[in-house]
Structure formats: C-alpha cells, structure tokens
C-alpha cells in the first residue's frame, strides 16, 4: 500500500500501461476485498434465507395446493387466519409453553452456571455433563419421555400417585410435560453460555468486592449479573426464537403427530404450519402462518430485548 503511494507521488504521470492496473488493484484491495471476504455468508444467506423468505410471501398470497392448483387470492389467507380459532389456539399454546419453559430454564441455567463456576472436584466432568441432554438422540428422548408421562404404567404418574392421569388430555398437563422436556434438553446449553461469560469476568472485581466485605450473594447480584448482561440478552433472544418456533418436543410428545393432542391441547404455531402444509396440503395458508409466526417472533424478541436490557440496572 505504502509502496503504491510512493510510486504515484514520485511520478505524477506514470506509464500508461502500469498506472490503471495499480490504481485498479489498490481499489480492489481496499474496497472490494473486504466485501468479497464477507460475501460467502451473504450469498448463502440470500439464497437460503432471503429468497425463501420472499418466496413465502409470494406463496402466502395464493391459494396454493402442495400437489395441485394455485390461484392468486391476495390477502385472503391472512384475513382467514385472523379468524381461525385453531390458529389462535396454537398461538396460546406456544406462548403458554414459552413462558412455562423459558423463564425457569434461564433461571435454572444461571444457577447451574454459577455452581459450575465454583472450584470443585471433577469440574470438567460436570461441565461436560450438562451437555449430555443435547447430544442424546431425539428418538431416545421421545421413547423415554413417552414412558415417563404415559397414562398407564407411567413413571411420573407412579411418582405423583396420579394413577390414570392422561398427560396429553389437558392443556396444563401437556404444557408442563413438554416444558420439562424442553428444559431438560436446553438448560445445559444456556448454562454453558453463562459459564463462558462468567469466566470472562475479571477476578479482581470479585477480589476487590471481597476485601470491601461483599457477601457471595451480593457479589452475584452486583457483579456477576450485570457483567453477564450481554450473555443474558443473547440467551433470551435465542430462547425466544426457539421457544416460539417450538416443534420437535411437542411432536415427540404426541408420538409424531403434528395435531398436538386430541383437541390441539398442545399444538404450537410451528406444528399448525406443518399440518396445514403437509397434512392438508394448503401451501399458501401454511406460508401465511409462517409469516405470522415470523412477526410474532420479531415482536416478542423486541420486548424480551427491552426487558433484559434493564436487568442489573445501568452499567
């Protein structure tokens, strides 16, 4: 770079065949290369992210059958959706399970991370241990939880002495069972993120606090939590996205049925979308559901973000 500048300064009128080339390569180096280097992500994103997003809008404006005819109907899918009781039922279920699963999950993860951050024997083993649920095969999870929450001869019914309770029959029971599954799978993941963030907190902050006589509890609330704010915001956003597009766990709970219980007791929006597209073959309607879900996630993410930014007060 320096070299180029020197040369052009020394000879204001450089040889015709050399100058454009070096000027071009300068421009290329400075302006194009950075964009070129970041471009693979954006190219892939526009093919696999942006295009489907836009295409879904296009599909949602049609009466489009998966293996059949298509017809332009404008916003009719959306107006129909807003009056669709099954859709609102799925929204209620999704939000209900989101609240029931995510809040305990993040609090639990925080406590777990704090515990793992302490000095103890076999610390690495415990730290790796929290990841085990994540690497467990989905099929195994389905089988095990299916047995745990079974109506007849189920472990949970035996434990709680609620013999013959059908966990899939009511909203409260199915939401609880599914939240347990979600938390079982994802608490460890969030705990690990918190743990990583905790380790990045400078030790001297704690030392100074100790010297000043701050208790462990006070240190946790006054140092750890505020310093973890970026991690908390991150986990809140990812859990919000994951929680609102909840699909795998409730489907596993229903043994693969996307209907979510006999009366849709635990059918989430994502399941309703899948059901519309692949069981009723209403591709256009399913796309409208997808867009509503997208909007919903944006909205809830915004509120979660605003809320979590206030955690720990001003920094």
């Amino acid at each position: 770079m320096l070299d180029v500048r020197k040369r052009s300064a020394a000879s204001p009128a450089p040889p015709a065949e050399k100058a454009p080339r070096s000027r071009w390569s300068t421009w290329f180096d400075l302006k194009a290369v950075p964009y070129l280097l970041v471009s693979p992500y954006f190219i892939l994103f526009s093919i696999f992210g942006l295009f489907p997003l836009g295409f879904t809008v296009w599909v949602s404006l049609h009466d489009w059958e998966l293996a059949g005819d298509r017809k332009w109907i404008g916003l009719e899918n959306y107006t129909e959706l807003l009056q669709d009781g099954e859709f609102w039922n799925s929204v209620l279920n999704t939000v209900g399970m989101f609240v029931l699963a995510t809040i305990p999950q993040l609090i639990l993860a925080l406590m777990l991370a704090n515990a793992l951050n302490k000095r103890m024997r076999l610390r690495l083993l415990y730290r790796l241990g929290v990841l085990v649920p994540m690497v467990t095969s989905v099929v195994a999870v389905a089988v095990v939880f299916g047995q745990l929450f079974a109506r007849d001869y189920g472990f949970v019914n035996w434990l709680l002495r609620t013999d013959g309770l059908d966990w899939t029959a009511d909203k409260w029971s199915s939401w609880t069972a599914i939240s347990v599954m979600v938390d079982w799978r994802w608490t460890g993941y969030n705990a690990l993120i918190y743990l990583a963030a905790m380790q990045a907190i400078p030790r001297d902050l704690y030392e100074a606090a100790s010297i000043d006589g701050a208790s462990a509890r006070r240190q946790f609330w006054q140092i750890t939590i505020p310093m973890l704010k970026p991690a908390i915001v991150f986990t809140t956003i990812t859990s919000t996205i994951g929680g609102l597009s909840l699909f795998t766990e409730p489907v596993m709970f229903a043994q693969g049925d996307v209907g979510g219980g006999s009366l849709g007791q635990f059918q989430t929006v994502a399941m309703y979308m899948y059901e519309s597209a692949f069981r009723h073959f209403e591709y256009g309607y399913a796309s409208a559901v997808a867009w509503m879900l997208f909007m919903m996630i944006l909205l809830v993410c915004f509120f979660s973000f605003v809320f979590t930014r206030r955690i720990g007060g001003d920094k």
Partner: protein, 431 residues
C-alpha cells in the same frame, strides 16, 4: 400394511420429521444397458421375495426398494412433494386407498396403464377395486390394486375363559351377530374381568362400523357422490358415532389410540381383550404381543357381517423415465400369483378373485392365532365386500373424527358436544 395412520415406528416418524427433505433419486446405469427401477412402499407389502424373482427373470432390470414404515406423516408428504416438483418419486409407488382418492383428479401426474396393456387385466381384480383405480374422468387407468382390508374380530382366548365366555372361534362369532350383542358380551366380560377393558379404543371400531353402515346408506360416508359434505346428515356416520360413544359410556374401552407406544404396551399388560382386525392387523398383533402370547389370540367373525377397511394400489408416476418397464413391474406385483406370495408373507388379503379362490389363500391357517383358518375367515368376507365411495378430502375429515373420539375417551367432551364438534370441524376441513 396400509392404513398405518398411527404407525408403529416412532423412530421412523421422528427420523422422518427431521429429515423429511432427504430424497434419493434413482440412478440409471444406462451405459451398461441395465435399468434400475425404484419402488416406493410404506408399512409392509411383503414384496422382497417377488423383487428377487423379478430380477432373476428379467436380467436387464435392477429393483431398488425404498420402504417407509410411517405412512401419513412421512410417506405421503414426501410423495406429494415429489409429484408437485416433478422429480424424486419412484418408478412404481404404492398408494393407500384414501391417498389414491385424493389424487384421482390429477391423472396427468400418473402414467395411463391402459397404454401398457393394463386394460386386459380387468378380470384379475374385484370389480370395485378395479374401478377405484380409474381416474376421476374415467379416461385413464391410474393404479392397480394390491390388496383389500377384509375385517374380522380378534380376541384373547385366555381372558374370555377367565370371564366364563366361550373360547371357540365359532361360538365366539355366534356371541355377537350384531354390534349390540357385542356390547352385551362386553358388559358380561367387564363384570368378571374388571382389570382388562373389552376394547382397545374407540377409533378402530368407529372406522369398522362406519365401513359396514356405509353400504346401507348409499355407500357413502362423509361425502356424497357429488363431493358434498354430508357427515351431519348421513345416518351411517351418526350410528357409527353413537355406537362408539355408547361403548365409552359403558366404560368398555381402554381409550388407547392405535399404533401409539401406550397401545403397544397394552398388548403385554392385558389392557384389552378384543380388537377389530383387518387382515394385515394379525401381523401387528403378533409383533406387539410376542412369543408369550402365542395361541392366546384367536380370530372370530366380526359383528354385523364383514367390512372393508383400507387396501392399497400401485401406480406409475408420469415422471418415471422407464414407464413401460415400471408398468410391467406393477403388473407383475399385482398379479394373482404375486398377491398369494404377499399374503403368505404379511397376510395382505388378495384383491384378485383368482388368488382369493386359491387353496394357498383359502385354506391358509395362522399358527400364532391357534391355527385360525385366516384364509377362510378373510377370503370369504373379501368377496362380499362393498366398495365405499370416499370423498377427495376423506382423510382430513376422518382425522377430525378420530381425534374427537380420543377426546371423548379422555372425558374432555361429552357425547353431544363431541358430535357437534366433529361435524362442524369436519365441515371446516371439507371446505
């Protein structure tokens, strides 16, 4: 096989849900002069032996068999996706009755088998099975029948003995000439054996009774011949519904949904003593019950005299690159001889009059079921079966009714509410 709505393999379901996009295309090694034909099936068709034989008889053909255990949530969505996008489907695909009905208006997506000598095969099939394979406009032959779902009633001899009921299949059949008699038997059974419910669940019996009631009411169920939604006015639907609601009222049902793990556990925990079984269900019972229950199950006549439940077809998608060879294979697989082989393998009841009359089918006995003469029981009902005319949206409405019957069993709805909700939600799905 077929009608595996609530399919057995959770593994397959979930793997499928997660990897619903995975598709393999048939690869041709055209240069070597060999043709590879891909065959898509679901559940179990019992074709393995036939494929080997066909490859041996036709050296130029290699068969790639893609089987998917789960039907409604994996096999069907994938198939429809292949048809929509025009690639990915097998050269020969299996279609369940309800799915075929759904596709009959889209004959342009399938090869016309009449062009490959299909028309001559008419007498090889039961007449109604043959006509179901025709496209809606009647111009082309879309599919050839593989099997039919003749109906019987399976029961546990040891539990019947405990309840002081006869155990011989003839006498048991005479216990319930009508469904009312079946309920009365159930009540007697329930008094003596309170820990075991008489029936596994409501949905199976609902479908069975509906298939018997339909012929009495113009041979239609949820839709009339002009595709009008008539579930609310068709007496067949109402009487089938009332019958199972009564079963629930009398607490004769274990409230289990077929093909769920709970249902599978129920076999080994004596949760139920009888269940309606189409021919192919025998294999399912054997698989779920295991050796301990060998000879504890038996097969008797179904109340109300016969019924038709499910049944499948083979078709050749138009996207196939070798439609002629594929059609030949489909013709081979649905021939009388092949149907006998499939019957022996997985108890798939033939749809060919010739195969049904064959001693290998007619005189077949099943040693797991006390040497029950399954050939006699099922083959006799098969010839008297009535074709039930299904609407294009039949599967959607049926799912609504089944879900609501489960809710009824869970005491989430009373019978009156359940009926109202079923006909209204059904109407929503029908439109």
């Amino acid at each position: 096989m077929k009608f595996t709505r609530r399919s057995t393999a959770i593994a397959a379901v979930l793997a499928g849900v997660l990897a619903a996009g995975s598709a393999c295309s048939s690869d041709d090694s055209a240069d070597s002069g060999k043709i590879t034909l891909t065959v898509d099936t679901f559940g179990s068709f019992g074709y393995e032996e036939l494929f080997e034989q066909y490859e041996k008889d036709n050296p130029g053909i290699t068969i790639e068999h893609r089987n998917e255990k789960e039907h409604e949530k994996v096999y069907v969505p994938n198939l429809l996706k292949y048809l929509e996008t025009g690639s990915g489907a097998g050269d020969v695909v299996a279609l369940e009755e309800g799915v075929l009905t759904n596709l009959r208006g889209q004959s342009d997506k399938f090869a016309d088998l009449n062009q490959y000598g299909g028309a001559e095969l008419k007498d090889d099939f039961l007449p109604w099975k043959w006509s179901l394979g025709q496209s809606l406009d009647g111009k082309s032959l879309m599919a050839l029948g593989t099997d039919v779902g003749g109906l019987a009633m399976c029961y546990r001899t040891d539990l019947f003995e405990k309840a002081g009921l006869p155990t011989d299949r003839e006498e048991v059949g005479q216990l319930w000439p009508t469904w009312q008699a079946y309920v009365d038997t159930g009540k007697k059974f329930q008094e003596k054996v309170p820990d075991t419910k008489f029936v596994d669940g409501l949905t199976t019996l609902f479908n069975a009774v509906l298939s018997q009631e339909a012929p009495k009411n113009g041979n239609v169920t949820y839709f009339d011949a002009s595709e009008k939604y008539i579930a609310d006015t068709n007496p067949a639907v109402k009487s089938a519904f009332d019958f199972v609601a009564g079963l629930d009222q009398d607490q004769l049902s274990a409230g289990l949904k077929s093909f769920t793990p709970q249902w599978q556990t129920g076999f080994k925990k004596d949760s139920f003593a009888t269940m309606a079984c189409p021919a192919w269900m025998l294999g399912v019972i054997k698989e779920n019950s295991g050796d301990t229950y060998d000879d504890k199950w038996d097969v008797a006549a179904v109340p109300g005299g016969g019924g038709n439940w499910g049944g499948s077809f083979l078709a050749v998608p138009k996207q196939s690159e070798h439609p002629k060879e594929a059609a030949d294979l489909a013709k081979f697989l649905t021939s009388a001889k092949s149907q006998i082989t499939a019957f022996k393998a997985v108890n798939a009841l033939p749809t060919s009059p010739e195969a049904l009359a064959d001693p290998q089918v007619k005189d077949a006995k099943n040693d797991y079921f006390n040497d029950a003469p399954v050939g006699e029981i099922f083959a006799t009902t098969a010839t008297s079966l009535q074709p039930v005319q299904l609407g294009v949206k039949n599967v959607d409405v049926r799912t609504v009714f089944e879900d609501i019957l489960v809710a009824l069993g869970q005491d989430k709805l009373d019978a009156g509410e359940a009926w109202q909700k079923a006909i209204e939600d059904g109407r929503d799905k029908a439109e």
